[in-house]
């Protein structure tokens, strides 16, 4: 994703909100739904809330295998929003390489989690 240098960092959550056994919360940015989670490496992902397959709500996703898995068909996303597995698709299918959920860059400083809000379009 291109970063728009005319954008800005905006605080979207506090770190302690993710201090629980399942570190995941819904976040709304610019009236659009996102999900914020911490993967098994402790890294944050802020990605679109609807699965790009048929729109299921990833807030109820399974936090496993160092990413977020949609409970509808098992599509698995890493913290960059890249689909890394589609377990119902035929063996050898490469479709997943073309599937990405919108992702917003995040940083965590002094207990606050900020998202990079571009001014135009690139953080959908």
């Amino acid at each position: 994703m291109e970063t728009n240098t005319s954008g800005q960092w905006v605080i979207v959550a506090q770190s302690h909100q993710l201090d629980r056994s399942r570190p995941l919360i819904p976040v709304t940015l610019d009236e659009k739904p996102f999900v914020l989670f911490r993967d098994e490496e402790g890294k944050l992902g802020l990605i679109g809330r609807h699965c790009p397959h048929r729109g299921a709500d990833l807030c109820y996703g399974r936090l496993e295998d160092n990413g977020l898995r949609c409970p509808f068909h098992g599509w698995h996303f890493d913290r960059y929003g890249q689909c890394v597995e589609q377990p119902a698709e035929p063996e050898g299918s490469r479709m997943y390489t073309q599937i990405k959920v919108p992702m917003v860059p995040v940083k965590e400083e002094n207990g606050a989690i900020s998202a990079w809000m571009a001014l135009e379009g690139d953080a959908r």
């Binding site: 397959h53 729109g55 299921a56 409970p71 068909h73 377990p87 119902a88 698709e89 063996e91 479709m95």
Partner: protein
């Protein structure tokens, strides 16, 4: 992905819409007989219209009722508060197998097809319904998606089948000791074959197992908005996804038993425990996060929303939003039946706009339509087709009512 314009065309069903015109050419479930037990009129919210079942002499009629514009989608005033609007349209209705169906289209209503759910005696069928807050099409599409059962309905442990009466996916797979839950979990990539039929689609999901065995699960799309699927070796589910309006729908199910009469009291009690009256809204819903429990999701179920698969489906389809934004979707091979169905619906829309209503499925001669075959079988991979057919015939032959096909 499809355009917003196309998504609107195939989802919106109010008076004057194109998909609404297709649905209006078929009998629509309007109310359960259970709802009419205390007498008529009974409020009905169907296809974006505010209606009420009344009796005119011997005839059951679905008339228009007065309703404030801001009333909720599923508004059910008590009988004595229902006011009929005689200036609005009224439609013929017909009670069959526990459901009052209505015909809201032009011309004479089509006959009821001789499907198992309509042929079985009243003792062998049971009807129920439930409210979902989403458009009817996404509710239907989950029912013609055989892959999702391996994930959405995955149980991380297998339940004792002794307590399985009246529940989906709790039987053992045909002729084996493997619980269906284990089979779905172990084989999550079914090959899916779709065949267009006189009633809609025959959908065959093949799960290739060890030792050259194949699990064959046959389900059906019955045009325009129903499915017929196996529930257990004993029962099938015929389920309509009926629009209340564009953003709300009911599932209406006729459970049909081949061998034994249905234990209706138990079936009703199981389902009333999960729904409130009079709108049949599920007690687990978006407002209470479907009773989502992350600890359960980690250990027991794929969703963390309990063992009732209806709740899983409800979460999946409601979570998409009131009308799924299909401009953002990415369909895969597992969605082959959905893709085929949308093609049929668009063809029906085109046929109607060309004035060819008799070209729609089941609008002509339906005398030959039976079944449809709807079952699970495990067979040698070489002859799964014949084996699936044979298992179905065996069940039909042993059945006390005429289930011949």
């Amino acid at each position: 992905m499809i355009s917003q314009e196309l998504n609107d065309m195939i989802t919106r069903i109010g008076p004057g819409t194109q998909a609404g015109a297709v649905l209006r050419h078929y009998w629509q479930p309007a109310a359960l007989n259970d709802e009419m037990e205390d007498g008529l009129p009974v409020a009905v919210n169907l296809m974006g219209e505010r209606l009420a079942l009344i009796r005119e002499g011997e005839l059951l009629v679905l008339a228009t009722r007065h309703c404030p514009d801001d009333a909720p989608s599923a508004q059910y005033p008590p009988s004595h508060e229902i006011e009929i609007d005689t200036s609005g349209p009224s439609y013929p209705a017909h009670e069959i197998k526990g459901i009052a169906f209505a015909y809201m289209g032009p011309g004479a209503p089509p006959p009821f097809p001789q499907f198992d759910c309509f042929r079985a005696p009243d003792s062998h069928v049971f009807a129920f319904k439930g409210l979902w807050h989403c458009n009817w099409l996404q509710a239907l599409e989950i029912g013609i998606d055989p892959a999702h059962a391996s994930f959405l309905h995955r149980f991380l442990q297998d339940e004792d089948q002794e307590d399985s009466y009246g529940k989906q996916f709790r039987d053992k797979a045909a002729h084996t000791n493997m619980p269906i839950t284990q089979l779905l979990r172990d084989y999550p990539r079914p090959d899916i074959e779709v065949e267009e039929t006189g009633y809609g689609l025959k959908i065959t999901a093949l799960r290739h197992m060890e030792n050259d065995l194949t699990h064959v699960r046959v389900t059906n799309q019955i045009f325009p908005e129903a499915i017929c699927i196996p529930m257990s070796r004993e029962m099938t589910i015929t389920q309509w996804h009926v629009p209340v309006d564009d953003e709300t729908c009911y599932w209406y199910t006729i459970f049909t038993s081949f061998q034994k009469p249905v234990n209706k009291d138990l079936m009703r009690e199981q389902r009333l425990k999960e729904h409130r009256l009079p709108d049949y809204a599920p007690l687990k819903n978006r407002e209470n996060n479907y009773h989502y429990d992350p600890a359960e999701q980690a250990k027991l179920t794929y969703t963390g929303m309990g063992m009732d698969i209806n709740v899983h489906d409800q979460w999946a389809v409601e979570g998409m939003g009131a009308i799924q934004d299909r401009t953002q979707e990415h369909l895969g091979r597992s969605d082959v039946a959905i893709i085929h169905y949308r093609r049929m619906l668009r063809r029906a829309i085109a046929d109607l706009s060309d004035g060819r209503s008799d070209a729609l499925p089941m609008q002509g001669d339906i005398a030959g339509l039976r079944g449809p075959l709807s079952n699970d079988a495990i067979a040698d991979s070489k002859d799964w087709k014949a084996a699936s057919h044979a298992v179905d015939l065996e069940r039909r032959a042993a059945c006390p009512w005429d289930a011949s096909v």
